[in-house]
Structure formats: structure tokens, C-alpha cells
């Protein structure tokens, strides 16, 4: 069967099922908002006199609230149906399904989602970088008054050190941008060289301090770990078990270190030690793998819950709606 044909069928099936679902019970995938009237007293200062600022915000709210309010007073204006968020909800559902479809095969839906996410997220991080780094740090230091008067009134005034550092940063940045100039692009290697050098220098300190020394000292475990009982003397079995654990630990660390030796061929004693080391590493990896499965499944569960709960309204674990979910599902099963 040609891929295109397959996808037409798949999409058609989904559309039909969704159509059925929409016609059952309270339908599905609608978003509501709540009106929030903001009113803030502004104290007078040299720039402006005292005043009261009023504006309206719309915050997302559970369908239950809307339904309740409607029951109470059909003409209420506090809660409203939100086209924007409803469309968003359907969009989110589409993207979710599109990404999952990649598991079957690459397809137009996935490529669309891929194209969207590249564009959106690249810009997203650009914006974050601008508002969270450039504005408070760079502009906050170079043009404090502007930032203070327009964006962050409570940003503390920059110190001389910060100002100097930021001019330096600006210089590096401009060198980097020389890459776009017709000539002299080679100078963009300088800031990169600076960054690489700095990273190398700083990481030596942090790694030796917090990893090499700390982990070495942490391995100073007694091979005999006395477990003292309530009445004083050593308790035999607990002591043995605790000691065994320590012995295994120390052996493991030493053998794994042997595995990492580069100038020694893995032969003879070193070879045997290295082999034990590999075994420890394998156990380590197996355990890590096992643990990770949990997390990954949780993530998948969250996405499927989104589809079932927010979109299809099949389940309602958070009690967002009034509709009796079970009955809705029941009637849906009847349809099939």
C-alpha cells in the first residue's frame, strides 16, 4: 500500500472517531476563561501623579466553573468560552499525534510539526536570551536609566565591575558578528578562543575540587564496618553485611579505575582487574537503564493523559468537568 494512501486512511479513521466522540455526552476539547479585573493604585512621584490603573485579564479556568456559572445565571459574563485556547488545544492535540506518528514512519504530519518546532523554539530561545540576559545584564549595565525607566524599575544599579565586564562582552560579541561582514570574518575566532580558554581554565578547578578530591575522599570506607548493638557489642551479621558492602564498593572503584588506564594493555593482572571493572560498569549501566524506564513511561503517560483528559474528555482525574466520564465512555463504547 502506498504511504500516501495509508495516511489518508489513518487520518480518515481518526477524524471519524473524533466526530463520534464530539457527538457524545458533552463533546470534547473546549477551553474556557475567567475575567479578572485588575485595578492598581499608582502612587504619585516626580514622573507622574497618583492614579488608579484598571484593565481586564482573562485567565484559563476549568470547564466545571463555566458550566456551574451558566447553570446559575445563563447571562453571566465572568466566565466565557475561549476560541483562542480551544484552537490551541486542538493544535496541541494535532502536534502530539503528529509526533507519535513518526514511530510508524516519517510523514507529512511529522514534518509539519518538525518545521513548526524548529522555527518556534529557535525564536523562543532568542526571545528568552533577549529579555532574560541582554536586557537585565547588558543593557542594564550599559544603559541603566533606559532599562530602569522602561522595563525593570527595581533592577539595582550596576557596579563599575559589571559595566566594564559588559563592555568587554559587547566587544567580544561584535568581533563574533564580524563573521557576517564581507571582510575580516577571521576575527570571530578570537572570542571563541577566549571562551574555549576560559572554559578549560575554570573546569580544571571545578572538576578537581568537586569530583576528583571529593569522590576520592568519599571512598575512604572501612573494610570492617562495626554495627554496634543496643547492648554494646558488635552484631555479627549486620557487621558482616555492612563490611561486605564496603569491600565490594572499594574493589569496584579500584577495578573501574584500572579499566580506564590507557598506557597499560588489558593483560595479566591489570586485564583481570579491568574485566571486573567492566562488570561493575555494566551493572551500573543496567541499573541506570532500569531506573530511566520509569521516567520515560511517566512522560508517555502524561502525554496520553493529555489526549484522554484535556482533548477527548474520556477521563477526568483532576475533576475539571461536571460530566460523568464513565457514562460518556460507556455510551461511546455502545457506539462501536
Amino acid at each position: 500500500m502506498k504511504p500516501s494512501k495509508t495516511w489518508v486512511i489513518v487520518v480518515a479513521v481518526i477524524v471519524v472517531l473524533v466526530g463520534i466522540r464530539m457527538s457524545i455526552g458533552q463533546g470534547m476539547a473546549r477551553a474556557y476563561v475567567q475575567r479578572v479585573d485588575q485595578s492598581v493604585e499608582v502612587k504619585a512621584n516626580e514622573a507622574h501623579g497618583a492614579s488608579t490603573e484598571k484593565w481586564t485579564e482573562w485567565h484559563p479556568v476549568a470547564p466545571k466553573k463555566f458550566e456551574a456559572a451558566q447553570k446559575a445565571d445563563p447571562s453571566q459574563t465572568k466566565f466565557a468560552f475561549s476560541w483562542a485556547n480551544t484552537i490551541g488545544l486542538w493544535l496541541a492535540a494535532f502536534f502530539t499525534l503528529a509526533i507519535f506518528s513518526f514511530l510508524y514512519r516519517d510523514n507529512p504530519g511529522y514534518r509539519l510539526a518538525e518545521a513548526v518546532i524548529i522555527g518556534v523554539s529557535a525564536a523562543y530561545w532568542g526571545v528568552i536570551g533577549f529579555w532574560d540576559t541582554l536586557v537585565p545584564k547588558l543593557f542594564g549595565a550599559l544603559t541603566p536609566t533606559l532599562v530602569h525607566d522602561q522595563v525593570l524599575p527595581s533592577l539595582p544599579a550596576p557596579t563599575t565591575g559589571q559595566v566594564v565586564a559588559m563592555y568587554f562582552a559587547l566587544a567580544l560579541g561584535l568581533m563574533l558578528l564580524m563573521r557576517l561582514a564581507p571582510k575580516g570574518g577571521w576575527i570571530s575566532l578570537w572570542p571563541i578562543a577566549f571562551i574555549i580558554g576560559v572554559t578549560a581554565g575554570l573546569k580544571i578547578v571545578s572538576h578537581v575540587e568537586s569530583d576528583l578530591v571529593a569522590q576520592t575522599v568519599a571512598t575512604f570506607d572501612p573494610l570492617v564496618q562495626p554495627v554496634v548493638g543496643t547492648e554494646g557489642g558488635w552484631m555479627l551479621w549486620p557487621t558482616i553485611w555492612a563490611s561486605l558492602a564496603n569491600i565490594l564498593l572499594v574493589i569496584g572503584v579500584l577495578c573501574c579505575l584500572t579499566y580506564f588506564f590507557f598506557s597499560v594493555e588489558h593483560k595479566g593482572v591489570a586485564g583481570r582487574a579491568a574485566r571486573v571493572g567492566i562488570m561493575y560498569l555494566m551493572i551500573t549501566f543496567g541499573a541506570a537503564f532500569g531506573f530511566t524506564v520509569m521516567g520515560r513511561v511517566a512522560l508517555l503517560a502524561a502525554r496520553i493523559e493529555f489526549l484522554f483528559d484535556d482533548w477527548l474528555w474520556l477521563i477526568d482525574p483532576a475533576g475539571k468537568r461536571i460530566v460523568e466520564v464513565a457514562s460518556a465512555v460507556g455510551s461511546m463504547l455502545c457506539w462501536w
Binding site: L103, Y104, I128, D132, T133, K137, L152, P153, S154, L155, P156, S206, E209, S210, D211, A214, Q215, A218, T284, A287, A288, F291, T292, V293, M294, G295, R296, V297, A298, L299, L300, A301, A302, R303, I304, E305, F308, D309, L314, I315, D316, P317, A318, G319, V325, A326, V329
Partner: protein, 300 residues
């Protein structure tokens, strides 16, 4: 049988995908409709987290760091919820910070979900405050050690930290007896231990909730540098059950709000998926051995 083996050997991985989808979606639907969850028996690491928080007297400032983003929400949101739930119930002074840019939104969501919903008497800026995000990873941590206000000059709402009641008497990180960390990677618990806990000279205790992938990497630090550890959704579920059972009024039979059962709900799909994985590993090996036997036969 041999036919079954040949199928196994040439199994298209998409069948595995389908099986996984079913084994996760099935339990979700079931639990979602019936509301039944599986029982939990807390491990020491999870109990330790509960104890550390319970040990603090009401009004004690506690530093709560949300170092994750929505991508890991499935795993970490339940932890965040019950951690804040216990802190709020205990009446601790909650100071929220984030070293991940998307942290502050998650903090606000959690505040909405727990504090605003169930602890309306707690006042923003007095009983809790969202100090928001600072870029700079470890650098921020190092600055916090000597000067909190320098690391976080203004709160998420743009108020100077000096003017925040909830931060009264907080000069440096070590003024917090406890650090509650929820993290999904770098920077996260490991960095906090390296740069803050180890250099605070035992002044700060730390409990953390982390993703499954980080759990093994953090065990070397528990219980010395790390006083409590919630590993993945399992840890979340154990801790959640602890908090719920301790906070539920003894006599009342009122149902626990669904938002405080998120982790335990998610253990259902966990079971399904884990059993599938185990089955897959067994099948994989059956196929492998059968294959090898046939090879041996061929050679002999």
C-alpha cells in the same frame, strides 16, 4: 514453536511500539475511569525526605528550587506538588527559585494548584515568594553562598528582594536550613551538592526529587550530602502516599483530591510498561538462544 521464533527474530520494532502504547494507555483509561490506584510502600530514601521537612518548625525559611521544564513535567510535577503540599501544611516560609528559564512558570502553576487552592491563608510575599529565574547556573549558586540578594536581586514580580517580608533575615544560602530541589538535569541536584551543600559546612540540608535517569547518579551522594531522594515517579508515588496519609484527617473518609494522587495514578501505566519490558527482555533472549542453537546445529 520454530515459526514463533522466526517471527521473534524478524520482529518489526513497530509492533513493540504498539504493545507499549497499549500497555500504557490501557491502565490510564482504567484508573482514570475507576479511580483505583495501587498501594505504595515507601523506601527509606523517600521517608527521609518526608522526615527532613517534618523536622522543621513552622515559619522556618526553606529554599525550593524548580530546576526543570515542562518536558520533564510528567515525572516531576507530582513531586513538586506534594513537596509544596507538605511545606505549606507545615507552615514553612517557602522561597521559590529557578535556575532553568522555564522554572518560574512551573512554580506559579504549582502555587496555583496547591497554595492558592488549599492554603488561601498563606500570603504571597509573606509566607511564600517566587523569586524567579537567574541565568548563570553554578555561578548563581556560588554567589548565593555569600549573598542571596546579589544572586537574586528582584523577584519574578519585579520587587527588590530586600523589600520582601518572606526573605527577611535571609542573607546567604546557609540561612536556609533546608534546600528542596526538583531537577531534571543540568544544572540540578549534582551542582547544588558540589557548589552549595559541600561548601556550606553542613549548615544546609538538602532533599531532592529527580528524574529516573538522574537517580543512579545521585545515589553516591545519599545519605551524606543528600539527606533525602525521590527517584522518578516511583519515589514521587511513595512520598505522595506518605504526605497524603499524614495530612488526611484521621476520622474523615473524604476522598483525597485527584491532584494529590497524580503520581500514584501514574504507577498504573508504570506497572503495565515494566511488565511489557520484562516480557520483551525474556522474549528477546528466547529468540537469541533459539537462534544460537540453530547456528550450532548448522555448524556441527
Amino acid at each position: 514453536m520454530s515459526k514463533f521464533i522466526t517471527i521473534l527474530e524478524g520482529l518489526d520494532r513497530r509492533w513493540i511500539f504498539l504493545a507499549m502504547a497499549i500497555s500504557v494507555a490501557g491502565p490510564i483509561l482504567y484508573i482514570g475511569i475507576t479511580g483505583k490506584t495501587l498501594p505504595e510502600t515507601p523506601t527509606p530514601a523517600a521517608r527521609a525526605v518526608y522526615k527532613e521537612i517534618e523536622a522543621l518548625s513552622p515559619g522556618t525559611p526553606v529554599l525550593i528550587a524548580f530546576d526543570f521544564d515542562p518536558a520533564s513535567g510528567g515525572e516531576l510535577t507530582p513531586m513538586a506538588t506534594s513537596l509544596v503540599h507538605q511545606c505549606a501544611a507545615r507552615g514553612l516560609r517557602m522561597v521559590f527559585i529557578a535556575l532553568w528559564p522555564l522554572g518560574p512558570q512551573l512554580i506559579d502553576e504549582t502555587i496555583k494548584r496547591v497554595i492558592l487552592a488549599d492554603y488561601p491563608n498563606l500570603k504571597e510575599g509573606i509566607d511564600y515568594v517566587n523569586v524567579g529565574f537567574q541565568s548563570g547556573n553554578e555561578a548563581v549558586m556560588k554567589v548565593m553562598l555569600t549573598d542571596f540578594a546579589l544572586a537574586f536581586p528582584i523577584t519574578k514580580n519585579g520587587v527588590a528582594v530586600g523589600d520582601v517580608v518572606a526573605l527577611k533575615g535571609i542573607q546567604r544560602a546557609s540561612d536556609f536550613p533546608l534546600l528542596v530541589e526538583v531537577c531534571a538535569g543540568y544544572p540540578g541536584a549534582k551542582e547544588w551538592i558540589q557548589y552549595v551543600i559541600s561548601s556550606s559546612g553542613g549548615k544546609i540540608k538538602m532533599v531532592t526529587g529527580c528524574t529516573g535517569v538522574q537517580t543512579p547518579g545521585l545515589y553516591p551522594y545519599y545519605p551524606v550530602q543528600l539527606n533525602g531522594l525521590l527517584g522518578a515517579i516511583k519515589g514521587a508515588a511513595e512520598y505522595e502516599s506518605l504526605v497524603n496519609s499524614s495530612l488526611a484527617p484521621k476520622d474523615s473518609t473524604a476522598a483525597i483530591p485527584a491532584k494529590y494522587l497524580e503520581a500514584q495514578r501514574r504507577m498504573g501505566p508504570q506497572l503495565g510498561a515494566h511488565l511489557l519490558m520484562i516480557a520483551l527482555i525474556i522474549l528477546g533472549n528466547i529468540a537469541f538462544f533459539a537462534q544460537r542453537k540453530s547456528k550450532v546445529r548448522a555448524t556441527s
